[in-house]
Amino acid sequence: MSSTPTAPPGDALTRVGRSENRKDAGEKIRGKAQFAGDLKVPRMLHGKVLRSEVPHARIVSIDASGAESMPGVVAVLLGSDLTEFDPYWGHAIKDRPIIAVDRVRFHGDPVAAVAAEDEATAEAALRQIVVEYEELPVLDTLEKATAPDAPRIHEQELRPGLFHGLGQLREEGGNVCYRYRLDTGSVELSESEAELSVEGEYEFPAVYQYAMETHTVIADYGEGEITLWASCQHPFLVRAEIADLFKLPIGRVRVIVPYLGGGFGSKSYTKMEPITTALSWKAGRPVRIANRVDESMATTRRHGMRCRMKTTASADGKLLSRSVRLLLDTGAYADNGPRVCATAGDAAPGPYRWQAVHVDANCVYTNTAPAGSYRAFGAVHMQWIGEMQIDQLAARAGIDPLEMRRRNLLTPGEPVRPDGTGKPLDADLIGDVEKAAAAVGWDDPKEPWTGRGVSVGLLAAGAHPVSRASVRMEADGSVEVNVGTTEMGQGARTVMAQIAAQELDIDLAEVTVQGADTRFTPYDRSTGASRSTTLAGLAVQRAAADLRRRLLETAAGAWEAPVEALQIRDGVVHGAGEQATYAQLIAKRFGFVGGEVIGEGEVRPETGSGSYAEGPVFWEVCIAAAKVRVDPETGQVTVERTATIADVGKAINPLLVERQDEGAVLQGLGNALFEEMIYQDGFLTNDTLLEYRVPRIEDMPRSMQGIIVENADGPGPYGAKGCGEGAQAATPAAIATALADAGVQMKELPFTPERVWRQINEPKETQQR
């Protein structure tokens, strides 16, 4: 990512760094914003999916004749239809059939799909399909799936998907589909020298992202061409995967992305697009599949995890070693499990200076719903555990938790990965954690059954650094930014528009940003990993600067003056005794009232391949502080205050940065206190919002403070770097350390009243001394 081609006009950043109103606010508040489920395509049918009633079985037979003969039913898709393609897909591992071929691997695995004139008919037709199963042993837990004699959930060889990019698959068979290790120094030696050590086993639950808009796709399998309107975060990766699956050139697959009703990772990579496309292929007409909540819960979720961690220190509180073994439950199909596993492995040491580190992270198949991305994955899994152990060591060394961190945290420029590979630290963590602690009144006197805690972590952010954009100015001077970022609530369209407005020195109102249409929009790897402002934003900045250069060249040519003699003020070019608006310059260029000028921008790896091992693009700071109160009679935990750090380099829109983190805090609070997908024998027992408890307005902490730190140390435009995930990783960890400070050491999330009450009243052995 080389430097910006030319300096922005003038000296001042007048259009970025301002809390402009969201560009999409008007149409959203008026109910006019279009989401995938609001769209209708001519001749469109409605699809419903028959899902497996059992967690693990061989399919003996399927009789769909009753459904096929129902009036209004146009097509029934079965695994036996998929003889023309290799039906297996998966961006990391090609392990997931479009629809069950001969086996189902979780309760909810798609077995058949019906396309009908209306949704009610499609749903009624599902009840006419008779499936005979021969049940297989159910490996519904990590213990069962990793038992030495456990049968394999995937018997076939694991094939890497198009976007695996993370090294070796399944080194040693069994149900471990991916393994990530970090090893540096001798943990044994450090442990033998250490005066202090803590060790424990921890559990993290499977949780549901609950983007309020469920996965919704319209697919139109036309003549040698597929068009998708999809609620997807990564349209270009979906396009590539659909093209690969249905054997079409990439350019013959078109993905159009309307507004998303939340994503949070649940709509990353490919989800319902293959089955909807195949159903359209079978029906010969466009088909819409709109999941219901229970179906989206069976489509993707966050990984549950078991983890054993041991951390050691010298008597005076110098950290020495950390050893971590973790098992992530990726469910029946890998989805993004390998990347979650690598990111958890990277997050496991925490941002501290170590003599020795051993991390063994394993991604494990089980007979439960597939698990993929959810905001701050990996980091959220590990940070609460690591930070609780840091506090336990601090207590035993007699050091304040904040002081413990001051002494041991990495400083800017130090390597983050203990083996010294990849990007070194690019943030001031000590400054950040001090700000967060101060914001919750770190040194205030404490009442009984209250506690305060901090947490510090890092998240490997940015994914692969490939983003392109174009900025197009019409003859009237209005501007459209073409960028592949999906607007899913984070405010990307507003931020991209501000960047273009800054570079061209024009009013924000002049700039439009639309959703991606892969036929026209330049390539962008994905919307996730906190990457859009940093990478797509940089591409937009470069594209707008390229457009500016072209406009200045037009002026220079017309006025016979050097470009360097020209200046831009408020969208007017001045110089050589002349001045002209952009529209006037375009009229000069074409001698006509039409035409357009397009600037292009590109971001790609500056050195090397941009691989995960060389990365990340930046380390996202995950820092929070919390104050909690626990009721010892009921076990109820109340989060009274939170403070989070948005270490964003430069806030393009400060209000939107704050709003991102507020959302992340509540999601983190849900993860910490309420949320848990409860499986029993492979059946999800709480698959509605009645039983799956998400945070409501009364759960909001009385005080939620978002602190923006701007050190201009990011690789994005104006020194920006991404945000929005850090607070989610840091919040459960800050709640955990605060609860420990209140006297309750927890080892299992969520901290429900029952678990907390039991820990207070029936404490188990909590730590090794």
């Binding site: 969201r22 008007g26 609001d38 709109a290 709003r659 509605t688 919002l689 945070p695 307005i697």
Partner: protein, 187 residues
Amino acid sequence: MSDVTVTVNVNGSSRQLTVPAQELLLDTLRERLGLTGAKRSCDVQVCGTCTVLVDNEPVSGCTYLTADADGRSVLTIEGFAQSDEFAEFEQAFVERAALQCGFCTSGFVLTLKALRDAGELRDREDAIAGLDGNVCRCTGYKSILEAAEALARSPQGSETLAAGAGSTSAPAGAGPTPATGHTEAVR
């Protein structure tokens, strides 16, 4: 399943509709009338994204039968957005960026309108209690609560209460939609 014919005032227009007896109001609005501002999410009356006002009361369109709306007035976000009163809600939300993905927003706005019209939006505590049936996954609620507090503080609330008690929810001075309406059969 038999059909029923109902007469419903939707956003100020009287509509005669013949629908299956079990049809949900959310589907009637979205699929038959093209009013997609109310969204489907949880289907079990928890999340509030499908909130519309029936005779000024917030209801979940996902669990409310269209048949039960016979003779009643339904206000959706599209209708409310035509009213003069809406500008204040828009300003309260937009200035504070009290929306992100926007999926839940119409439900929050309509719930707040109903609360305020009923005189039950006086302060922060009222807002917290009154918004219990609306889930937002993006914002963390803080910005929405700030918008609600701004609406609670504004004098418009009491005026609306005084003037609007018991009246139809047809938007006052609605732009293109005539307040008295015409009957239109939609099938």
